[in-house]
Amino acid sequence: MSFLGWGNYPKIAGRVFNFNKVSTLSCIINKYDELIAYGNGRSYGDSALSKNIINTKPHSFFLNFDEVNGLLHIQAGVLLSEILDVFVPRGWFLKITPGTKLITVGGAVASDVHGKNHHIEGCFSESIEMFNLMLPDGKIVKCSKHENVELFMATCGGMGLTGVILDVQISLKKIKSQYINQTTIKTKNLQETFEAFEKYKNTTYSVAWIDCFAKGKNLGRCLLMVGDFSNDGKLDYQTKNKYKVLFNPPSFFLNKLSVKILNWLYYGRVRKTISKQRVDIDTFFYPLDAIDNWNKVYGKKGFIQYQFILPKEVSFKGLGNVLKEISSSGKGSFLAVLKLYGKDNNNYLSFPMEGYSLALDFKIEKGLFELLDKLDGIILKYGGRIYLAKDARVKKEVFEQGYPRIGKFRALRKKYKMSEKFNSLQSRRIEI
């Protein structure tokens, strides 16, 4: 069988093992190597691709819910969307959620995902009470912020390279509505964008869409969306019908001109500098989930989602340089998402640090990898790093400089013989 990440690049022929029972999993781990856990296939690049793939989706029972404290214990293959379906109507929401709900809980741990509230509430690991991890020798260890702390810090953000996450206990947060009161702020340039982020830094959720085709005095103009849950008591949450991309459009469909027009329309559709809306959970948190397989619009060759973060004090300068480089290359991206992050955590390979992150989609085409290498250079110069959950191409040296705790991670992998059992194309490429 062939396997792809969400970016449809790269592709690998692999064998798949279904993880139904813990007993069968330990047999698989005992017998094979080059193993990597694969959840719902939403990591963009090659972090969940290997010769031997453990499909964790069948391992998806809800195990316990403590109504008093909002503690939910689930098996690793449960999708975040399943949690929302069950718990939003009862007034609970995920403390931390990324921009898609179509990922498994195990995947959320392994990428230590974050969301629009990172600047206030941190990464997914902040919501984890504990999880059980199967090590290369088949032993199961309970990990938390107090127990097996080293393994906890390596596994949260560890890209599945420390073993297989079996089940996770997370704490949910109380909500009084499934609606969010959203404010949209339209800015004219990067300076204004940064000022707006600062101004709204106490609002729980915030994210900005940037027009990366804008040049000169318009460089860095954006629509910043901030908001928090309403208190109106309406919890009638139901997933809407999805749209589907029925075919791979020819690769010229998204070209410089069409993306430029899309950007112009998107930015231009908001007229007022500040406007207010009331939107539901799916619209606010998961706009792209409404289209079942939106990744197909980039054509058969696939795309790269390039996400980096820069320390706060150099973000303005660094971002300016990156945006200039992109806009002069002409390889614009329609989905360009900017966000302010809060303090980093202690996990060895978690992506966030205090600063600004930009995520961009690029269709794979001639000259792209050269451009990205150039951008890598700028990011390193400013002390930033690349997000592994999205990556399919970063070079070892670039990765290493961005993640100062990699030494600890490698040492732990060696100590538990993880590097002999668990590997992905990504871990081989950047040698972790």
């Binding site: 029972f61 809800f62 195990l63 316990n64 819910f65 399943e82 069950v86």
Partner: protein
């Protein structure tokens, strides 16, 4: 409370049915052998839907215990869905009578023993529904699975008679005839995708048909047409075929 009793609750189809019914507000008795293995599943349904789901030990082949089993249910169900089935091995069954007995008893005798008891109760109460999962294999005997097929044919006939008997008592009887279904039972078989249903699809069809009080359904629906055509083939032609 509205309990539905699912017999043979360990199968993939039964689990899909259980999900569908709890989602729609029904409580469940899940009956199977070594029913303790279903506890995690039952607990999962309970957390997801808030419905009560109880696992109860039942061996469909222990006929003498069936009455006791039914009487032990703390609340009488408003409906029963029989998913029990054993495909067996046709080749083995041709020479090994133990295999024949296992196929016939699991797919027919055992179920009849239990359903007789339940049907009496529903008839007395003048309400309830009985759903039996038979098979398209029971519509015409083929060399590749005629022992399984004849047990299913007997079951279909039993359900048809039961439907006739219970009509005046306001008890609904639904015969379900699945074609290929992607489950553990058919694992490793090379099934044509267009004719193969997912367990969730079967559960969906069953729920809809049961709510609409249908009598006989095929799932996927295309199997109705396929079986119509197969049944029209004259025997002199059919006996030479390799369907």
């Amino acid at each position: 409370m509205n309990y539905v009793l699912i017999i043979g609750a360990k199968s993939d189809i039964a689990k899909a049915i259980a999900r569908k019914y709890t989602k729609n507000g029904y409580d469940l008795f899940l009956a199977a052998r070594q029913s303790s293995e279903l506890e995690t599943f039952a607990n999962d349904l309970n957390i997801r839907t808030g419905r009560s789901v109880q696992c109860i030990e039942l061996d469909i082949l222990s006929y003498t215990l069936h009455k006791e089993f039914y009487n032990s249910l703390e609340e009488k169900p408003i409906g029963v869905i029989v998913v029990t089935g054993y495909l067996g091995n046709q080749k083995t069954a041709q020479s090994d009578f133990d295999e024949v007995k296992k196929i016939v008893d699991t797919n027919f005798t055992g179920i009849i023993s239990l359903l007789n008891i339940i049907a009496d109760d529903f008839e007395k109460r003048k309400s309830g529904f009985i759903v039996g999962i038979s098979s398209v294999a029971g519509d015409r005997g083929r060399k590749s699975n005629y022992i399984y097929g004849s047990a299913k044919a007997a079951f279909s006939t039993y359900l048809s008679g039961l439907r006739n008997r219970l009509y005046d008592s306001n008890v609904q009887v639904l015969t379900v005839k699945p074609g290929y279904v992607k489950t553990r039972m058919t694992k490793g078989m090379d099934l044509p995708e267009i004719l193969t249903a997912q367990p969730e699809e079967v559960a969906e069809d069953i729920y809809r048909a049961q709510q609409k009080e249908n009598s006989v359904i095929y799932t996927k629906r295309i199997w109705k047409l396929i079986m119509l055509i197969i049944n029209m083939i004259p025997e002199w032609k059919f006996k030479r075929s390799n369907i």
